[in-house]
């Protein structure tokens, strides 16, 4: 019996055209641009300078505080520059640029592919390795994992939920990981479970991935503490708060962290990274991304090195024309899923640790229509998974009424996009609500 969250939600086509494409090793790029801003929190501080030689897996930046993470070299070679470089949206971010030479890894890293089942590390050791390996939430938010595994004062973890929902249309990187590396994910999850104090473990997977559910169910039959929960195919099933609601029936209170319900949610990709870090001593320098579109010939899943330019993936997937420009068929490249991903304006921008994929859209698929008048149909209200009133928040945001926006819980918005998606009048609801939410959060932090 599939579970689901109880409020709101929409049903976009899942468009998982790339789900049967096995993960390919993407060739090592000639040059990587590794941003210091790979995670939420303080940007990392570089410890290398121009001219230094580095090996794969070597530390190139230190965390700047607790809510921060170290960054490691994803290629071997010479540091060409440590300076601000434009990201995929053209914004300059301090980055370490490495010109690749060969593919020499640190000797401490185990590069074999054999699965190491036995967990010999203690929970404290596991925690330290996670912290030192630069592991961040690979579901997209890139929150430093070791911080999430440290419950706040007065809150206790009761469950670890591995998020295998992958509710965003088109993306299949998590699915491929679960199909090809289920055992490793489970071992990584098991390690995190122990760090949290031997809590119960749950893996949530949407029912449009029956193969993954089957594989995980078979594996967890040997683990008493683990349970696989199939989830209905719905957006935003993979949202933290919605996942906790579906799996545990608990709702996160307004303006609170998920840990207040006793649940810690981690993406299956993060669990895989934890396995690699602890069992193979490999820091977070690779991940899996999807290249997808509605064109059946442009579907790929790649294991990539952090810092590779986006252009190279699009080119390898066949989306570029002979002159090296994006094929004229496509009007938009989205970094991430179509519901919450950001648009790409600079194709030479690099990929980051938590990049999940790129979706290419034609103009017809994605160009916005002219907004009309609000007809008070309340479809946005019905779709909002946080039970907010988007029609009201939109008007308040336009009028700048900050107090009433707070009264109506604008800070609880998870920016899922269900409201804008459902509005028959094509009103840009989320655009304005997002701005108002940022202002509200900034004011709250000041207090």
């Amino acid at each position: 019996m599939s579970k689901t969250f109880s409020i709101g939600g929409i049903h976009p086509k899942d468009s998982k055209f790339s789900k049967d494409k096995p993960i390919e090793e993407f060739p090592v790029p000639k040059r990587v641009v590794i941003s210091m801003n790979q995670h939420l929190g303080m940007p990392a501080v570089p410890v290398v300078k121009k001219g230094d030689t580095v090996k794969v897996g070597q530390l190139i930046a230190e965390p700047a505080g607790f809510v921060s993470a170290p960054v490691h070299a994803s290629v071997s070679g010479t540091v060409a520059d440590v300076a601000p470089y434009p990201d995929f949206l053209g914004k300059k971010v301090l980055s370490v640029v490495i010109d690749t030479a060969g593919d020499e890894w640190l000797e401490t890293i185990d590069r074999t592919h054999e699965i190491k089942h036995e967990i010999t590390a203690t929970p404290q050791e596991i925690f330290k390795i996670i912290s030192d390996s630069g592991i961040v939430g690979l579901g997209g938010a890139a929150f430093p994992t070791h911080v999430k595994l440290t419950p706040l004062e007065g809150m206790k973890a009761e469950y670890l939920i591995l998020n295998g929902a992958e509710c965003e249309p088109y993306l299949t990187s998590d699915y491929r990981l679960m199909t090809e590396h289920a055992q490793e994910i489970l071992i990584g999850g098991e390690m995190m479970r122990r760090v949290l104090g031997d809590v119960a473990g749950i893996i949530g997977i949407e029912e449009n991935k029956p193969k993954a559910i089957e594989i995980m169910k078979k594996l967890t039959s040997n683990y008493l503490q683990w349970e696989v929960v199939p989830l209905k195919k719905r957006y935003p099933q993979g949202g933290e708060k919605q996942l906790i609601d579906a799996v545990l029936g608990r709702k996160v209170p307004s303006f609170s962290l998920p840990i207040s319900t006793g649940a810690v949610v981690q993406n299956v990709g993060t669990a895989y990274a934890v396995y690699e870090a602890v069992q193979k001593r490999k820091p977070l320098i690779t991940n899996v991304l999807t290249i997808s579109s509605s064109d059946p010939s442009i579907q790929k899943n790649y294991r990539f090195r952090v810092g590779t330019p986006i252009r190279e993936f699009l080119s390898a997937a066949g989306a570029m024309d002979k002159e090296g420009n994006l094929s004229r068929a496509f009007a938009k490249v989205v970094n991430g899923g179509p519901m919450m991903g950001k648009p790409v304006s600079n194709l030479d921008g690099p990929v980051m640790k938590s990049t999940s994929g790129f979706v290419l859209f034609t103009s017809k698929e994605t160009k916005r229509q002219e907004p009309g008048e609000c007809i008070r149909c309340s479809k946005c209200f019905q779709a909002c998974p946080m039970r907010l009133q988007p029609y009201l928040l939109y008007q308040l945001a336009l009028a700048g009424r900050t107090e009433e926006l707070d009264e109506n819980r604008v800070f609880d918005c998870i920016e899922c996009g269900c409201c804008l998606y459902s509005c028959p009048a094509h009103i840009p609801l989320l655009d304005q609500i997002r701005l108002a939410k940022n202002v509200s959060l900034k004011n709250k932090r000041k207090k």
């Binding site: 209170p253 008070r376 009048a425």
Partner: protein
């Protein structure tokens, strides 16, 4: 290379649009439209055409020449108003009366409030009530002409057969509700009335009774309701609340004294209650946004309708009831939805 499109997330949109919703409502109204034309012939067609054309023209002229903006008739909402207005009028409505109704519906009830999405009252009902008060005679003349579409083998309402059983050219009679109101006021009981007049539920379902064009055939309205529910245009909350309230209210009265009060089924099937419940009360702009608000809205309409029907001066109360509850909608919209989580939030 063409330039990349850049916009904030989300990058996909549902196929829904205002125009699509209006189109679905028009389709849902087609059964009622067809039934009216079938039974009442060319006069029904005339009322429909004049009403739709009048509403579209009024909106186009006002938006284009008074407000000096791009025309809004392409969102099809004027056509919906036109159809609903026509279905609320008697078949024999003169064309000039229909036109006045159009101007009132679009010009006064819709555009003066700010156009689509801003009106407080249901435009078709405002027009209907305006016409009812201004032209009471024309609005209560339920003449049915002998339709060229109607085959002879159908059982005809008693009112259409003369003393020797011959087919009359036209019949002018009162609606079933009107008949019982007058009859009960004159001291007759329900049994006597039902013997004298044809209150067959079959006729009400199919549309053989007298009345305004839309209220006649209940089956046509139900077909429309099913289509709207299937297309997810409306939710069943409002129609259900109205129907249940009316059924309960009339049921209690009927059980107390069946000779003075008609039974619930009678009340449900007559007087445009279903037309109002399905098409007029569910209009997005003039109905509440939250489920609790919708329930209160529906119950209110049901109550006011029954109060007017039983104790009021008019035989029919749905139009007034809906307009009355429309006025309360802004208040109902202030009801906050159930909080996402009842626990007190930290920070």
């Amino acid at each position: 290379m063409d330039k990349l499109l850049i916009s904030p997330a989300p990058h996909l949109h549902s196929k829904d649009s205002t125009r699509r919703i209006m189109r679905d409502v028009i389709i849902a109204l087609m059964p009622s439209v067809l039934v009216s034309v079938y039974f009442a012939g060319l006069s029904a067609l005339l009322v429909l055409v004049v009403s739709v054309a009048g509403c579209v023209l009024t909106e186009h002229l006002i938006v284009r020449y008074l407000m000096k903006k791009k025309t809004t008739v392409s969102d099809l909402s004027a056509i919906v108003t036109g159809l609903l207005l026509a279905l609320n009028l008697p078949v024999s409505s003169p064309w000039w009366m229909v036109l006045i109704g159009c101007v009132v519906a679009i010009g006064i009830a819709k555009m003066t409030f700010g156009g689509l999405g801003h009106n407080l009252f249901n435009p078709a009902l405002v027009a209907r009530v305006f016409l009812l008060i201004s032209f009471p005679v024309q609005m209560t003349n339920w003449t049915i002409s002998n339709s060229i579409f109607r085959p002879d083998r159908w059982e005809l309402p008693k009112g259409l057969l003369g003393a020797q059983g011959q087919l009359m050219d036209a019949s002018s009679g009162a609606t079933p509700l009107g008949i019982i109101k007058e009859g009960l006021a004159n001291g007759m009981t329900m049994e006597t009335l039902s013997q004298q007049h044809d209150f067959s539920y079959w006729h009400m379902l199919f549309g053989h009774i007298d009345g305004s064009m839309g209220e006649a055939s209940v089956l046509a309205i139900l077909a429309g309701l099913l289509y709207l529910l299937f297309r997810k245009v409306i939710r069943p909350v409002i129609p259900l609340s109205i129907v249940i309230t009316v059924a309960l209210f009339s049921g209690i009265l009927w059980m107390v004294d069946p000779s003075q009060y008609a039974d619930p089924l009678f009340h449900l099937l007559t007087g445009g209650l279903l037309l109002g419940a399905v098409f007029m009360a569910t209009d997005y702009t003039t109905s509440p946004m939250s489920p609790l608000g919708m329930i209160i809205f529906g119950i209110g309409i049901g109550l006011v309708t029954m109060v007017i029907r039983v104790w009021g001066a008019y035989p029919e109360g749905v139009s007034f009831a809906i307009l009355f509850m429309n006025a309360l909608v802004p208040l109902l919209n202030k009801i906050k939805p159930f909080p996402y989580q009842k626990e007190v939030s930290r920070g």
